[in-house]
């Protein structure tokens, strides 16, 4: 062991202490990750493999044992990709997710902007604003069903406020059904965007804002020129997370519409569910799920790349204060 301490020419091997430290760190990392790995191996992996098996074999519940199912190659994928109903489901899901994400973000950001400077009683507002997120989506759907009847309280209030007969059929008009779910999604999940944006706004250092203030910037210019650019990574995060969640929205849509009226609210999760458990086309459902999963993986990878880039630029921006301490 004494040899390790002796200085050697060129690159000396790292001392034993460093090696054992590195090993300990690696061990620690593995031990932290192991529950996740075990869960992945025991739960997620079998499900994914089974799904993969089904998407290459024609099988459904009444077709005998699943391990004897007929191998059909890529037939099912071809079927799904040429299915116009699947195409429309994608369009509806994208529409729904985009619209509700923007809605959640706009309202969430607005509330966060109103709330980020502490004021008396802000905790009460905070709780009120968070409440929708704590409500179970199915409860949101059933409550909405009662409120949104054509001659129900919402239309009544809207009519009284506007002074005109305002009676949209929120729950039965195929032209607005998807928008109805979208509005509910916005109501349900604005708190999520609110919390993220509130955290982001509160994390911006105060001094650049005050500097802008005394240099003559109005509130609007400060927002536009200082706060918004500094918030970019947070905004991106809020949008991406909300979008991914909205793509997977199922409970409210199902509880209210089951894909109807007609196929007006038949989004991807609804269509996959119907294919699998109403038409019992288990294999087609599996193939669809795989395609959707690949789609989402592409979106997630893109999002991670974007987020990483934003984070790096943010880190670079904030390098300076620490340097100045020196």
């Amino acid at each position: 062991m004494a040899v390790a301490a002796a200085p050697a020419a060129g690159l000396p091997p790292p001392p034993a202490r460093v090696v054992s430290r590195r090993r300990a760190i690696r061990l620690f990392k593995i031990s932290l990750l192991s529950p996740l790995i075990v869960m992945f191996a025991l739960v997620l992996m079998p499900a994914l493999l089974l799904q993969l098996y089904f998407s290459f074999h024609q099988w459904t519940v009444y077709l005998g044992t699943w391990w004897d199912a007929e191998f059909v190659g890529l037939d099912l994928f071809q079927e799904v990709l040429t299915d116009p109903r699947f195409g429309w489901a994608i369009v509806r899901s994208l529409l729904f997710a985009t619209g509700s994400t923007i809605g959640c973000f706009v309202f969430g950001f607005l509330l966060a902007y109103l709330m980020y400077e502490p004021f008396r009683g802000n905790a009460v507002y905070y709780i009120i604003f968070i409440l929708p997120m704590l409500t179970v989506p199915v409860v949101v759907a059933y409550t909405a069903e009662m409120m949104l009847y054509q001659s129900g309280p919402i239309n009544d209030i809207l009519s009284r406020l506007s002074g005109t007969e305002f009676k949209p059929a929120w729950l039965s008009d195929p032209n607005i059904a998807l928008a109805t779910v979208g509005l509910l999604e916005i109501w349900n999940w604005t708190p999520f965007s609110f919390i993220i944006m509130l955290a982001g706004l509160s994390a911006i250092p105060k001094e650049p804002i005050e500097a802008a203030e005394i240099l003559g910037a109005s509130k609007w210019r400060i927002f536009w020129e200082v706060q918004l650019p500094l918030l970019r990574p947070v905004i991106l995060l809020a949008l991406v997370l909300r979008f991914l969640e909205a793509m997977a929205e199922f409970p409210k849509t199902w509880a209210l519409f089951q894909g109807g009226p007609g196929s007006a609210t038949e989004t991807l999760p609804i269509y996959i569910f119907m294919t699998t458990w109403q038409y019992f086309q288990i294999s087609k459902g599996a193939a669809m799920s795989y395609i959707v999963m690949l789609m989402m993986i592409v979106i997630v990878l893109l999002a991670i790349r974007l987020l990483r880039r934003e984070k790096q630029s943010l880190d670079k921006m904030y390098e300076q204060p620490s340097k100045a301490e020196g």
Binding site: A212, E213, I214, L215, G216, R221
Partner: protein, 362 residues
């Protein structure tokens, strides 16, 4: 042109009174330094002048006009922050240009003026860099330039140098001084560094616990501190302070402490007997080798600094009793040697037990 008056200014944060009944006038073109230990209310005062904090009561007037309800941007002031507060997503030129853009100055003029101030604070070569690529000193110059370019009537500087190392601090201190002389604007500078205050200020405002303790030129503050706190706060090395008592006897007024028994100058003839603290600056203590001194103390440490030599004596007090002697002639003094010392009678201060200076009437 800016004459700033603070009238009965108060600021409370909940139950904490950060600034208490502050009345003070800053004349046009003056370099004022608010100084005191951290948290004594100087920064709060500055932030109230800037308009970032609303006073709990009292008035702030700029050129006679009450500005309490004016937004920061309408007060015509410029501010430099301790943390530089540059916009991290804008390059140096865009940072400097910001104030001009907000005032809708045409583009060509903006470019010209940015160049001008960048050259003035010697950062012309940095204009394309991002703040993260600038060093601490450079960042603070950029912050100065960003303020300069808007041509404010008054510069508010909130501990602008405290995040820099000693050498940069001296350099930028000189820069501030130069800018003040060149621009002839009002400067209000907040610091907790007495040396910064001494070197920069026309007038120093010493604050403590939200109150003004003393206002005066650096020389006044240094040679006539109104109380123990000011005496102790200013000067490096700090004033020697020895706790003891004043005794009135047949031999006149004397000051007694464990190693001290000295006759006080006649101006202290009317001083009340009792506990008191004697203060004398290290440079007013004379080393009288071979002669008869006022006191005789053992040497604990000799610190030859080149230009001066510092002698640390044991006076039985917590802090060593320090004397400054010119050159290195005293560098050979041995530790534990007992040295006779003289105290310049004109430079002796006495403080009452509550810290107030015992006035001599002279």
């Amino acid at each position: 042109m800016a004459r700033i008056e603070l009238v009965n200014l108060e600021k409370s944060f909940g139950a904490v009174k950060a600034v208490k009944d502050l009345t003070f006038t800053i004349e046009d073109g003056e370099f004022i330094v608010f100084v005191g230990p951290s948290g004594c209310g100087q920064t709060t005062t500055l932030r109230m002048i800037a308009g970032f904090e609303d006073p709990t009561s009292g008035e702030i007037r700029i050129n006679g006009k009450v500005v309490n309800d004016l937004e920061p941007r309408d007060r015509g002031l410029g501010m430099v922050f301790q943390s530089h507060a540059l916009f991290p997503h804008k390059n140096v030129a865009q940072n400097i240009e910001f104030g001009l853009r907000m005032k809708k100055v045409p583009a060509e003029e903006r470019v010209r003026r940015v160049r001008e101030v960048a050259d003035m604070v010697r950062i012309g070569h940095l204009l394309d860099k991002m703040p993260s690529q600038c060093s601490g000193g450079e960042s603070q110059r950029v912050a100065l330039a960003r303020t300069l370019v808007t041509n404010p009537s008054t510069f508010l500087l909130d501990e602008p140098l405290s995040s820099l190392d000693a050498k940069l601090r001296r350099e930028l201190r000189a820069e501030c001084d130069r800018l003040h002389q060149a621009l002839k604007r009002t400067f209000i500078f907040v610091t907790h560094d007495q040396e910064e205050a001494m070197t920069l200020a026309d007038r120093i405002v010493v604050m403590r616990n939200g109150e003004i303790v003393q206002v005066g030129s650096p020389m006044e503050i240094y040679s006539n501190p109104v109380n123990y706190f000011v005496a102790d706060f200013f000067g490096s090395p700090s004033m020697n302070l020895v706790a003891g008592e004043i005794v009135q006897g047949t031999a006149g007024t004397r000051f007694r402490a464990p190693h001290f028994d000295i006759a006080l100058p006649t101006r202290f003839g009317t001083a009340k007997p009792g506990a008191a603290t004697l203060g004398i600056r290290p440079e007013s203590v004379g080393v009288a080798i071979g002669a008869k001194g006022d006191i005789e103390l053992p040497v604990r440490l000799v610190e030859p600094l080149g230009k001066d030599t510092l002698l640390y004596f044991d006076a039985g007090t917590e802090r060593a009793f320090v004397a400054v002697t010119e050159g290195l002639s005293m560098a050979e003094i041995k530790v534990d040697e007992r040295i006779p010392l003289t105290l310049d009678p004109l430079r002796i201060h006495l403080f009452e037990s509550d810290g107030r200076r015992i006035d001599t009437g002279a």
